[in-house]
Amino acid sequence: MSERSQSETFPLSRRIFLLSSGALAIALAIPDAAEAANGAASKPPLSPDQLDSYLAIEPDGTVTVFYGRIDGGQGLETSIAQMVADELDVPFGRVRMVISDTARTLNMGGASGALGVSRSGMHLRRCAAEARRLLVEMAAKPLGAPANRLSVSDGVIGSMSDPAKKISYAELIGGRHFATHLDWNGKYGNELVVSGQAKIKAPSELKVIGTSPRRKDLPLKVFARLDMVNDVRLPDMLHARMIRPKVAGAVPVAVDESSIAGIPGAKVVWIKNFLAVVAPKEWNAVRASQALRVTWSESHPNFPGNEALHDHIRRAPVIKRTIQNENGSIEEGLSKSVRIIEGEYEYPTQSHASTGPACGLADVKNGEATVWTSTQKPHYARDGIAQLLGLPVEKVRAVWMFGTGSYGRNDQGDATADAAVLSQHLGKPVRVQYMRHEGLAWDPKGTASVNRSRAGLDSSGKVIAYENISKAFSRLNIATNEGRPAHVLAGHLLGVPLEPDQSFEVPVASYTFDHKRLGWEIVAPLMDRASPLRTTHLRDPYGPPILFGSESFIDEVAAATASDPVEFRLRYLSNPRDREAVKTAAEKYGWDARPSPRNDQKNADTAVGRGIAYRRHFDTFIALVAEVRVHRDTGVIDVLRYVCAHDVGLIVNPETLRHVIDRQLVYGTSRALFEEVRFDENMVTSVDWLTYPVLHMGSVPQSIEIHLISRPEAAPSGAGEMALGLVPAAVGNAVFDATGMRLRRVPFTPARVKAALA
């Protein structure tokens, strides 16, 4: 049987194994099989109000979970399986996850806001609890005992009064279906909520949650047995490369097809402003993309260039202003103040800069489409592609596969949409692989911002007025998902009407002041359509820009009042969880209370200092202490030590959580010290790892200590991105402590630090 006909007949597993023979074998999901005593034989349609849409008991007792988000390698596949195993009383190893194949899973939001555990994990826990309740009820008759006299262990239900009487989940319903209705709130994505009759377990009853099984995906990756989206091959597939202009906004006006005539099988696809080359052999597609002669239209984007970007933002008219959080009257507070401190902080444009340039595949034929994608939000990608191709949404299937990390709304959905357009046009399966320059110059960007803060102090030195206003490009110039053609590059090039939204955020910290105002101002994008600088969510979408401003400024006020930075923060924090995070980080670091800066290293070649930053995000409470060494002669900053206190509520998998925080702090260091998208008046000039510098091994923090604050009684919040946003402020504050010099612009490159110290 060919790969093609198999995938038409059965759901294709996302794991395709390379056998020693070199042949590709496709692991198939087991089709519905054995009849059992209870349960419906045919699966109800995939619908949010059906329990069968979320989990199934297979004939061998395996529990299959249908997870409509993704796992970007942070261990969600494992953590979610733990949560389901615990509620169902089955061993962790018996839970198998089906991740975001739109034919088999519902839209639970994709990767979004670190909500995997807090929303979908809890949602699936409730479903598992309901399934357990139903199974115990089903067992009552065959075991001859009421449900409240039955117990479950390892997926086997037993009578408490007669240990000989047992029946397994597999015997009860294996291969069949619950056909049970759940109450659904009518929403999809992050907001999807269902409920049944069962209650989830109390913290004291949990056995699998709170333990640390290792990640399911990692051995497959380490032994090269996991195929990513890049590795899918379809019969008759064409390899495609997109052709991008050298000047932003330029569109093709003439294409010389004879320039690639000598390359076997190479063809041009040119639809409106969408331009690509395809070839049966991948290298020939690359060659054709390099050889193709294109005449482009004149375009003069007049970008300000990255060096002058913040001046541009300061000057640019505000197109939307929102005060998001306000109490008292900032004007009154400032008028009563005897001293006003002002601070301004600048954050650069940053790229998702995924290790792998985006890749996506599509097979569009007979009025149907299947796409293989590693976008963070496969269900939305399906919706957007259906609209782009003019197909009903039920005729489009998106199969999510592991791929390069995306770190927010990167370009993987763009590549998938490109593949869909090409496949529809050519009538053949198409694989689009972006090149390195596209992965940096053409991915959607995280916005630059200028963060202005003011604090008014009374005569006792107490802060009575506090204002924080971020001025930035919208974080939603294109949406955080690809659910509409207006949000993918292909849609822009094909001329669909644009649908920008205007939004930013404010610092989510619990500081209380008598008069407080937190808000944001949006400036117009530098280019409306098909912009290489279009802005959207980059991992922790507003954390680093806003917190760099707000948590540096809090430090600035502490220093201006000769206060210890930890003690100063605690003065304005009353919530016990906020306070405990700050205190724990300081205590574990061995913080000695004193104002910054140190002032005792003025003549030394290097200066060491420590700084703290804190945040609350949802119900996650984090404080980070950084200790750094600054080299005065070179401007190089060494991160000597991070101490992170982290309160996420209930901890599902402590070891994986530690890894998630550890990797984030390294990644955050890259964002703080190195990353800035460079561009000139015409185009992004960050096109490779030399022109978009990132952290390498030589700059890895020397020590990272993570202190988890365990609160089993509190619902689990998110952990996937919250710690990284503290890095710029913590490091900046540590540099101030060491040198007395306040860093006001990210990234803290050696040249910038050296200049500031001079």
Binding site: L18, G22, L24, G72, G73, Q74, R214, R215, D217, L218, P219, K221, V222, F223, A224, R225, D227, M228, N230, D231, R233, H239, E282, W283, V286, A353, S354, T355, G356, P357, F402, G403, T404, G405, Y407, Q433, M435, R436, E655, T656, H659, D662, R663, Q664, L665, V666, Y667, G668, T669, S670, D688, W689, L690, V694, L695, H696, M697, G698, V700, I704
Partner: protein, 133 residues
């Protein structure tokens, strides 16, 4: 044609990955006669008689290479798109220098890209592998 395209497109050996095509990231690293080499820069015509080993050929779950075993012990990678570069480069280092210092490990791995931030964990894993082999 670069070796990478021959391995992937012709031989369907998927594990070396396209990261940059410029020799800047290491995602395409394979061993050529025991040396860690970036296959995106090597013309396929230059390696006709060489012994090429990819990550899939380094070890198995039953008989893992010490670096692979350590990678699992330390739970290093997240997305793992870069994993060929790190494991193949570390394995070549340990073959040449079974007891490297921290600085030697850092130098050997200095120009590999990882965007998930696994650098510290990778360093710990290579040290663990060096101690175990």
């Amino acid at each position: 044609m670069p070796l990478l395209y021959a391995l992937r497109d012709e031989l369907h050996l998927n594990n070396p990955r396209f990261g940059c095509g410029l020799g800047q990231c290491g995602a395409c690293t394979v061993h050529i006669d025991g040396q860690a080499v970036r296959s995106c820069l090597v013309p396929v015509s230059s390696v006709t008689t060489a012994r090429i080993v990819t990550l899939a050929g380094l070890g198995t779950p039953e008989q893992p290479h010490p670096v692979q075993a350590a990678w699992i012990e330390e739970q290093v990678s997240q997305c793992a798109y870069c994993i060929n570069g790190w494991i193949m480069t570390a394995a070549a280092l340990l073959k040449e220098k079974p007891r490297p210092s921290d600085e030697e490990i850092k130098t050997a791995l200095a120009d590999l890209i990882c965007r998930c931030g696994t650098h510290g964990a990778a360093l710990r894993a290579v040290k663990r592998a060096a101690q175990s082999s």
